[in-house]
Amino acid sequence: MRAAPMTNAPANDNRIAASNVNGGRTLTLRIFRYNPLQPEQEPHLQSFTLEEADTMTLFIALNEIRENMDPTLQFDFVCRAGICGSCAMLINGRPGLACRTLTRDLPREITLAPLPGFELIGDLSVNTGKWMRGMSEQLQTWIHRTGGAPDLCRLEERMEPEVAENIYELERCIECGCCISACGTAQMRPDFVGAVGINQLARFRIDPRDDRTDTQFFEVLGDDTGVFGCMTLLGCEDFCPKDLPLAQQIAYMRRKMVLAAT
């Protein structure tokens, strides 16, 4: 194998990726292939080689493969900007967003696999949406008000900017599923709601518009499928592509739920 001549790529090149400036490397992408609708085809890794382009992301690489080499390759993308959360996959064994991963940060050989822990749609595409919906229904991740529907003709109640900012910080979760694939607990125990679930309840716990008491939160989060199942392995925190403060939120809910139990 020849050493990657990284020097070919000028460090401060600000030409755009679309111009397909040759980054100098030939990449080999080994991609997991399996289509549940064609079970006679065993799951296997298929290799594709392509020339690396400047500031190439995995999103660009995968599209190139689908356009030029294999139109049957399945993978998900919507926003290609790290917002929709649909492109998460295992990149050399670790979860991440394909649209936010530059090939130049990776070795010449790149292995791509679907996120474990979710239903496989085909190849790199998994049904995170179904999982997230189940989690959301189990934890009831929406505003609960005791006073019924709000009066839409009246001004909304004021909220301290600091509270609003804290809520906004936790709202940034894009439900990509990386924290579930990075969590040993969630991988061993499929009924664990994971950091994404705990973080979402923390978001409603600090929202003054949600009237639920800690006892009510405890009902959905207070056992081993919830916050007490977490063993503090911290994969979630270290692999969340949105850098959410997950360890802190899990600790926060753990303290609240302990108080609710005693």
């Binding site: 064994g93 189990q138 405890f218 207070g222 270290d238 139990a261």
Partner: protein
């Protein structure tokens, strides 16, 4: 996570188990730190260790040593370990399928804290056996603690291999344990939780390195004394202030 659950009332057991597991873990770590400092008194000399041993037998207060006090402490620690281990058992992977998933996960993720957790599970498992042997010995022979008695056990009684393994298992397990406990409940993370966590990790390794070094030196000291005392196994140490005044050296 399949169907929505409505109106379920989870028992408080999970919450209590989590608290008690952490509580017994913390208690055991604090005990192990204090224990290491006491045992290492041998590095200050036989008399220092002799004094520490008699103190725990209540001599300064009760006038004479009562080794049964040691048995009492041992029993208490044993109980804490049993409770802790029973609760920790629920965290072990429970089937070959879970082991497979976990091993695959650890290998492909290459993630420090996940790997450390697994090291904790393995050392915890080893402690089942290593700690029981030691505790049984101390429970039934609480009087055999002293500069010569302990050294004889370490060397002539061939306990040093056990103690060597026990040292590494306890320090790794306990060190990782407190670190995870602190992060788990969100203590001492400071304003910036990420930097706080890295700081805690550094502190954790410093403590572990210090205790391992101290432990190895201490074990070496007992082994040396035991080696030198091999011919007179069973003889008890007489502290300096009770030793008969040494015969004047035969000056020519």
């Amino acid at each position: 996570m399949t169907q929505p659950l409505t109106g379920r009332r989870p028992s408080r057991l999970s919450a209590w188990m989590d608290m008690v597991q952490g509580g017994t873990g913390l208690l055991l770590v604090l005990f192990m730190w204090a224990h290491m400092l006491m045992v290492s008194s041998i590095l200050l000399g036989k008399d220092a260790m002799y004094w520490v041993a008699r103190m725990f037998e209540g001599e300064p207060l009760l006038g004479k040593p009562y080794p049964i006090l040691v048995s009492g402490v041992v029993l208490f620690i044993l109980a804490a370990i049993v409770v802790h281990a029973v609760l920790a058992l629920r965290r072990f992977p429970a089937s070959s399928h879970q082991y497979q998933t976990l091993h695959h996960h650890i290998r492909s993720l290459r993630h420090g804290d996940t790997t450390l957790w697994y090291l904790q599970v393995i050392t915890g498992f080893a402690l089942f056996f290593l700690a029981s042997v030691h505790l049984y010995q101390m429970l039934l022979h609480p009087g055999d603690i002293g500069p010569y008695a302990s050294s004889d056990r370490v060397w002539s009684g061939r306990f040093w291999p056990l103690y060597l393994l026990l040292l590494f298992a306890v320090e790794l397990h306990g060190g990782i344990g407190v670190y995870r406990l602190v992060v788990k409940w969100g203590w001492f993370l400071g304003k910036d939780p990420r930097r706080g966590r890295r700081r805690l990790q550094r502190i954790k390794w410093l403590i572990t390195a210090f205790l391992l070094a101290l432990g190895l030196l201490t074990l070496a000291a007992y082994m040396k004394i035991g080696m030198e005392h091999e011919a007179r196994v069973g003889e008890r140490y007489v502290p300096a202030h009770l030793q008969p005044v040494a015969e004047p050296q035969g000056n020519p």
